[in-house]
């Protein structure tokens, strides 16, 4: 089930919330667990066993790590958890990719497995693995209650699209959390903001992107630029919208997840972009790969190696295809360059140029990200950069005319402008008028969201494949 759908908003969520609020505190985790399992089974009736398996495994691992002090046993448990989780992830996500690569290199014809990717596997394996590592490092105590642990792993707000919530962030709240009207209403408003981002902006610009992509060989360069721009907005509003909905629902339940996005498109460098984009993933790789490899506290060569490893893995995590690996390495190289060469020049440049520099590199990144087929990528890029096609033509005016307002809205909401206005007005005298405006806007936008959901069968969810 996706959050931005009629059955979720009008049935699953309200029924769950009513029961969740009515039952005594002790039963709340059980209710949350049951509904999370229903939520998962809704889309993946079979693979739910995988998630249960992963949870049982790391629950046991945690308990064992708590019991044994001997270094060798502890190392073994750690290794076993990492290997089993990664095998699980690799088998379902990467085996076909591996077979294809072997086939094309050695000219063999090993048949593909064609397994559908279990929803959320990239997220829950990372969560259970990070838990075992944290217990091993004694950063958190092992969870004693299996119900609590399973609730943590399967919690539906962040189950399918993140953010990657670390056990450390929520383990106290699993025991005891504040459930009140404040949290409920702040959470619901946050959920609605995410819903608006996903349904009104991401889906609409996603549609524009698909329209351009489907027939790109007949369009001019400017249209192809508009295409990649709308893809950039789609992916940001889709993903950050989902994170907003997850964080909002977490709050409604009394949990406080960490922020996952922080206006990434206003970055002045790529280094900054990756501090603002999918924060829970970057921190995961930083804490569990980069730093254990030695981070930057080693020779420059090793440091460069570490950065490249992390970014190759980051790329690979996003999908089982070469373009994602290239995409990761692309950013790895830029980060290395920024760190060792460009930093001092960038700092001297005017802000305007630094924004331009970042946005262009980010857009090129999305270009690599968008095409799994290298030939199509080359064909698109050639035309985008003005070869074999006109620079601008009627097609561009056509798309701009139909979507300009949505693009402008996407631009505005990619920056913290509205947040700044909100903070300024909170202190101003006419804040009541502003509040009434906000109130009416929310009702309006919610009705429009319903109209989009009811009429739009186009509601694809980009992050299912991760």
């Amino acid at each position: 089930m996706v959050f931005s759908s009629i059955p979720f908003i009008f049935f699953f969520l309200p029924i769950f919330l009513i029961i969740y609020y009515v039952v005594p505190f002790k039963a709340k985790n059980v209710i949350l667990l049951i509904f999370s399992l229903i939520f998962y089974a809704w889309g993946e009736p079979v693979y739910i066993l995988l998630m249960v398996f992963s949870s049982v495994l790391d629950y046991v691992n945690g308990r064992l790590l708590e019991k044994y002090e001997k270094k060798r046993i502890r190392n073994f448990i750690l290794l076993e958890s990492v290997i089993v989780n990664l095998l699980l992830l690799s088998f379902f996500k990467y085996s076909d990719f591996l077979i294809e690569s072997i086939n094309s290199i050695f000219n063999t014809s090993i048949p593909l497995l064609n397994l559908p990717l279990p929803i959320g596997i990239s997220f829950f394996t990372f969560q259970t693995m990070s838990y075992t590592i944290d217990v091993y490092r004694k950063e958190v105590p092992a969870e004693k209650s299996f119900i609590h642990f399973m609730t943590y792993v399967s919690m539906f707000p962040q189950l399918i699209a993140g953010p990657i919530v670390r056990y450390e962030t929520v383990h106290k709240e699993l025991e005891n959390r504040e459930i009140n009207l404040d949290n409920f209403s702040n959470g619901l408003v946050r959920f609605l903001e995410g819903l608006f981002k996903k349904v009104l902006i991401a889906n609409t610009l996603g549609f524009l992107w698909i329209s351009i992509l489907n027939d790109f060989t007949s369009f001019s360069s400017m249209t192809l630029f508009l295409g990649i721009l709308s893809f950039a907005f789609q992916i940001y509003f889709d993903f950050s919208g989902y994170s907003d909905m997850a964080i909002g629902m977490g709050k409604m339940l009394g949990f406080h997840y960490l922020e996952n996005f922080n206006y990434p498109y206003i970055s002045k460098s790529i280094t900054e972009f990756w501090r603002r984009w999918h924060i829970s993933l970057s921190t995961f790789f930083k804490d569990y790969v980069y730093i254990p490899l030695g981070g930057n506290r080693c020779s420059t060569i090793k440091n460069i190696r570490n950065i490249l490893i992390v970014w190759m893995l980051t790329g690979l995590w996003h999908g089982a295809s070469w373009n994602f690996i290239i995409w990761g390495i692309y950013f790895g190289i830029i980060l290395i360059l920024e760190k060792f060469v460009l930093k001092k020049y960038l700092e001297k440049m005017p802000n305007f140029l630094r924004h331009l520099y970042s946005i262009l590199l980010i857009l090129i990144g999305w270009l690599i990200f968008a095409f799994e087929d290298m030939n199509v990528l080359l064909e698109y890029s050639k035309r985008l950069f003005g070869f074999e096609t006109r620079f601008i033509d009627n097609d561009f005016l056509f798309f701009i005319k139909n979507y300009l307002v949505f693009i402008v809205i996407a631009m505005i909401f990619s920056t913290p402008i509205t947040r700044i206005i909100k903070e300024k007005i909170a202190k101003a005298r006419y804040k009541n008028i502003y509040n009434i405006g906000i109130f009416i806007s929310f009702l309006f936008l919610f009705m429009i969201v319903i109209s989009f959901l009811v009429s739009d069968t186009y509601n694809p969810f980009l992050y299912f494949r991760f």
Binding site: M1, P14, W42, D182, L192, D395, I438, S451, V454, T457
Partner: protein
Amino acid sequence: MEKINKYIAITISILVLSFSGWFIINPKKTFSENEFRYLETFPTFHIDSFLNGEYIKKLENYFNDQFPLRDRFVEIKTEVFYYLGNRFINDVYIAKDHFLIQQFARPENSDKIINILNTFKEKNKDVEIQMILSPTATSIYQELLPWYHINYSEKEVIDYYYKNLNIKGIDIFDILMEEKENYQLFYRTDHHWTTYGAYFAYRRYCEENNITPLEIEDFHIELVSDDFLGTLYSKVFYGANDKDTIYSFQLENSNFTVEYLDKITNSLYNEDYLTKKDKYSYFLDNNHPFIKITNHNVNNGKELLIIKDSYANSFIPILANHYEKIHVIDPRYYNMPITDYIKDNDIKNALLLYNVNSIDTDQGVITIR
């Protein structure tokens, strides 16, 4: 800030619960007239369809299809897009004068279809075969299209067909361009031509075949419906206040026998459809695999086979005044070789009638043999 969030949260919660309750008590519909399709009803549970995800997909469609005020909500979406400057929804342009005009995308199967038709002609060397490939409102009413639009040229495609077919093409483009000042030739909310559009195509056909056409004044012209909302309206859900009118062109005391595979009537029209949504089906009782029309007022021995899409439905009742017998085959529903039919019935003249927009994806034309 916190306080306003409470107001929003409480109001939205009440709203959500009201809609959930409404959904539950709302009587479920099985058919949507506007969309012309069956709506999803509550699916029955099967373990197989549950495990392969089909059940859930159906259940989700059920929630969307049966949502209270669904049609109104779909309209709201179009309105939002419209007022934000979008004039292109579901491949349909919202044009000036409340016209809805479909997009004409670059055709992909022209050569394939030309080949099929040429082969068909080869097999029927002795038959005089002609073709009318009609333009649509997209090119005839081009000036009404919104400020910027992307369409392929219908005229170019028609010319390409006519140049490469070894079948004689009848060009109706110019006459429609001339007459559009005087009459409304295409519906505003539907992808078909109006009876006037069909009439001028008929005139050109007559010119090419040495038939003296009937003048407009010769007909008894009857307004049969003034609240027609056609297929393009269903696609965009916009312009419900601008309904189309349907006219029928009939001669006094005409006398037809119309044989369908499953029934025989004496009318080229079915008035039952005028009370339903798809009012264009009034002409020739919608699409049938095969129809044989006998005109008892004519004794000239002339027979014609028409192979067609739905554009022909409003054209045939006018042309039928000149032929003793007209055989109508719609290859979308007629599965036997047409060549056999031609041989068995000793057909000498045939007309292919299609519109240029949908011929490219027509499921019937590619089966002609």
